[in-house]
């Protein structure tokens, strides 16, 4: 969609000083899109990376590419930038010919110059680009010029990262800037009753400003530590109406057909109409669960805002600056042209975290203090408690067998919405999804998202197994009205669905006394999937006999059923205290043509580690009084003491289109760990996370 909407070369590529600027609406969130885009242009135009740069991603300047998510950056921005660069290459050669003669084939493009071998004609490429007509359209039919061995660019920003000079939004420091912190209600149902007036006066006497709009409260001032201390004392000075407290719902019981809006899913797409009857007398039947989990960015969300009296200037680590601009403008009664948002990196976000909410809150504070740049930072607790969570999910799997093969397969997913991003839509959907709008004096109700009917989207992502079962019954069950605000987290429903399907495949293969890889291959008709599993098998064989006390599990999935194919094998041990130790892992991936192998490997490894953390550690807990998972002690995550050796194998399918891999490894990783635990100690873990308590509980239930 990207270049249909932005059809000109100059929408994507522009000469600026002696460099070529690449414009993209995709933001670099650690998926290395900027490194990949630089490489694409470098290959096409033989420009050294030092003469290439990515333009700041800013509303009104960058192409509007919606939201950076779903591993689609390369397909969208990448495709447009590649076509623009190919058009530039051809047009530049024509320009050289028309100015200096010869045929296009007489000219060479090399190292930033266009030259004609055998002459001293040598033209600077970027000077020529400057002379291209500004309305030159992209010619999507231009063949791409791909040199055999283009040098790999280093990851963009890595030098600054190791030197501490990479600028995150948290590091911005403008003259006369003020810092701000918010005062969090005890939980989402609470409303502010009162603030102790003496405390307010004390704080204001120190030159700080308190901002209040209904139950939204913040404090701002020149000195950051003063503001942190004031926020603590202001928090203690607030009294709240509890609104009945948080519902102590049994989520597992709530995720049931009688509470759900139900859709049959065919070819990955939900259908209106009746849902087929469950399988009759299945041979295998099991339910799998994932609790609420957080994105848990290492840096709490932050944003810098300034209100000039006419224009709101924002810097944010949001994944979607255009939708956010629309939502903020609508919330504040401004036109979109009065709001400008520039993307500045935050720490890795893994989906929709507190970024957008923090940006809007910074705006609210800035509007109360014109002409002062306001740097709002959420606290660790703010981020843990108030970011939109990944929804809790349940997946019911049933299967019927004949002659050791699966002849009928049913999977039903249950979950609340995965769509909480502040995108514009009916009923002021954008503003309704910004957290502070629920607490302002004119409060908005929590937004009720319509069901996501997209293909392989939302909770039904990867609900459709990769296997060629003769009979498949797939059902999506959208359950609303659950206690917590939820939104998109890396992989959406794919984590729980692949966990369920691949644990079931393991169980069924064991019942049939079959080798887990051969059993899967026997049900696959996709040669590339079989090749991934074949390579996984070869790597496993090469490891020799398993040591005593070690168990191995495998899993396979193709992300979204159309993207990267990944097979994972994990070896685990279980300690005397029932802790799962990750010993070794193999990841085999087929992501089509590989543009940035190091980046791809890092994404697959990163996905593995995050999924291992979900599988082994992570669960949001709460009671009436609020969220109890408030920091890294009460919400533990994986640490360096449980990092396995990971071998990543990229299959070389250079004749196939590139597909994103940022979200391809987590689903199979969770399932492979569950299967390895079973192999190790004979316990089938069907609910994440597989903590020592969960293992002990499972042992007692045998």
């Amino acid at each position: 969609m990207s270049f249909e909407a932005y059809p000109l070369v100059s929408d994507w590529l522009n000469a600026h000083d002696d460099r070529l600027l690449i414009h993209t609406g995709k933001v670099d969130i650690g998926q290395r899109i900027s490194t990949a885009l630089i490489r694409i242009v470098q290959e096409e135009l033989s420009l050294p990376p030092s003469r290439l740069d990515i333009a700041p991603v800013r509303t009104g300047h960058a192409p509007d590419e919606g939201i950076t998510s779903g591993s689609n950056s390369i397909e969208q921005s990448g495709r447009a930038v590649a076509a623009a660069a190919a058009t530039v290459r051809a047009t530049i050669l024509d320009l050289a010919v028309s100015r200096h003669g010869g045929a296009a084939a007489d000219w060479k493009i090399d190292d930033g110059f266009v030259h004609r071998p055998g002459t001293n004609l040598r033209l600077d490429l970027i000077d020529l680009i400057r002379d291209l007509p500004p309305d030159l359209p992209i010619d999507p039919g231009r063949p791409r010029h791909v040199p055999e061995q283009a040098p790999l660019p280093a990851m963009r920003g890595i030098d600054d990262m190791v030197q501490g000079s990479f600028t995150f939004v948290h590091d911005l420091d403008l003259p006369s800037m003020w810092h701000a912190r918010r005062i969090s209600p005890p939980h989402a149902k609470a409303t502010l009753r009162d603030i102790d007036q003496t405390k307010i006066e004390n704080i204001e006497a120190k030159g700080l400003q308190i901002i209040r709009d209904g139950s939204f409260v913040a404090v701002a001032g020149a000195g950051e530590w003063d503001v942190v201390k004031a926020a603590t004392s202001l928090g203690l000075a607030c009294t709240w109406d509890q609104g009945g407290g948080l519902p102590e719902t049994d989520i597992s019981a709530q995720l049931a057909p009688e509470n759900a809006e139900r859709f049959r899913v065919v070819d990955g797409t939900p259908q209106n109409g009746s849902v087929p009857a469950p399988l009759d007398a299945p041979d295998m039947s099991a339910r799998f669960e994932r609790p609420y989990q957080i994105h848990g960015a290492l840096a709490p969300s932050a944003a810098l805002a300034e209100w000039t009296g006419d224009t709101l200037l924002l810097r944010s680590h949001s994944q979607g600056i255009y939708p956010l601009r629309a939502a903020i403008a609508d919330s504040l009664g401004l036109t979109t042209s009065q709001v400008e948002i520039t993307h500045v990196p935050g720490s890795g976000c893994y989906g929709h975290n507190g970024a957008d909410d923090a940006a809007f809150e910074a705006a609210l504070i800035a509007m109360a203090r014109p002409n002062t740049p306001i740097l709002l930072k959420w606290s660790r607790e703010d981020e843990h408690v108030w970011e939109p969570f990944a929804p809790a999910m349940a997946v019911q799997v049933d299967a019927k067998l004949a002659d050791g093969r699966i002849i009928a397969f049913s999977a039903e997913a249950y979950s609340d919405t995965h769509r909480g991003r502040p995108r514009p839509g009916p009923n002021r959907a954008g503003p309704a999804k910004l957290l502070a709008n629920r607490f302002r004096a004119i409060a908005m109700d929590a937004y009720v998202s319509p069901p996501n009917m997209g293909t392989h989207a939302g909770m039904h992502r990867n609900l459709d197994p990769a296997y060629a079962f003769p009979d498949k019954r797939l059902v999506k069950n959208l359950v609303r009205g659950l206690p917590h605000r939820t939104s998109a987290m890396r992989c959406l429903g794919a984590v729980a669905n692949v966990f369920a399907i691949e644990s079931s495949m393991d169980e069924i293969a064991r019942q049939a006394d079959a080798d887990p890889i051969a059993f899967r291959q026997a049900h696959l008709d996709d040669p590339r999937a079989c090749a991934v599993l074949h390579e996984l098998d070869r790597r496993i064989q090469a490891r020799g006999q398993l040591r005593d006390g070690i168990g191995r599990g495998i899993a396979y999935a193709q992300y979204k059923n159309v993207m990267t194919r990944v097979g994972v094998a994990v070896e685990v041990a279980v300690t005397d205290t029932a802790e799962v130790r990750l010993d070794h892992a193999i990841i085999v991936a087929d992501a089509g043509r590989v543009i940035d192998p190091l980046g791809l490997t890092a994404q697959l490894e990163g996905g593995f580690m995050q999924a291992a953390s979900w599988a082994l550690c992570e669960e949001v807990r709460w009671d009436r009084d609020g969220i109890m998972s408030r920091d890294w002690d009460s919400y533990p995550v994986i640490r360096f003491d449980n990092v396995p050796v990971i071998d990543v194998v990229l299959l070389n399918t250079s004749d196939q289109p590139s597909v994103g891999a940022g979200e391809a490894s987590p689903g199979p990783t969770v399932a492979a760990i569950a299967n390895a635990i079973y192999d190790c100690i004979g316990l089938r873990l069907r609910r994440m996370p597989f903590t020592a308590d969960a293992l002990t509980q499972a042992a007692l239930e045998i």
């Binding site: 290492l298 840096a299 660790r380 490894e605 995050q610 890294w632 640490r639």
Partner: protein
């Protein structure tokens, strides 16, 4: 602070002495970032749980997000901005770049500091020792395997 006299704290940071103007109860990380504008040291939790704020104090990796600046009076502190002043520091930074041991990079300064402190005290750590030294540090992007490779590379080159 009493009005009768100014109690002052001075720190030697990356080899330069600074008299500190911030309040004595200010955690070191705010002094570094806000008063001295050394933004390389990161804030992740303010609870000594994540490692983002690590600096080197007299050869050891120390978390700077809770302990008040007055506790560091007279101490020699190396932040990520000064870590390249030693040969080990340069080696570790180079190894992190060569192994691309970062994704978003937010955990990276703390990890580089921890790695340098480790190698200064234990020149050739085994993998268990390395993992133990890094366990106070979180990385949410999953760059752990590359970080471990980078530290290994820094010990062998």
């Amino acid at each position: 602070m009493g009005a009768c006299h100014a109690v002052s704290v001075s720190l030697t940071i990356n080899g330069t002495r600074h008299d500190i103007a911030s309040d004595l109860d200010t955690p070191l990380v705010y002094v570094l970032r806000d008063e001295l504008k050394l933004k390389g040291t990161k804030f992740g939790c303010g609870l000594e749980q994540c490692g983002a704020c690590a600096v080197m104090v007299e050869g050891k990796a120390v978390l700077s997000c809770v302990t008040p600046v007055e506790v560091f009076d007279g101490k020699e502190i190396t932040t990520i901005e000064g870590i390249a002043e030693t040969e080990i520091g340069q080696r570790v930074q180079r190894a992190f770049v060569e192994e691309t041991a970062a994704q978003c990079g937010y955990c990276t300064p703390g990890l580089v500091v921890a790695a340098v402190a480790l190698l200064e005290n234990t020149p050739t750590p085994d993998s268990e020792t390395t993992k133990r030294a890094l366990t106070p540090h979180l990385c949410r992007c999953g760059s752990h395997p590359r970080v471990l490779k980078a530290i290994k590379r820094a010990t062998t080159t």
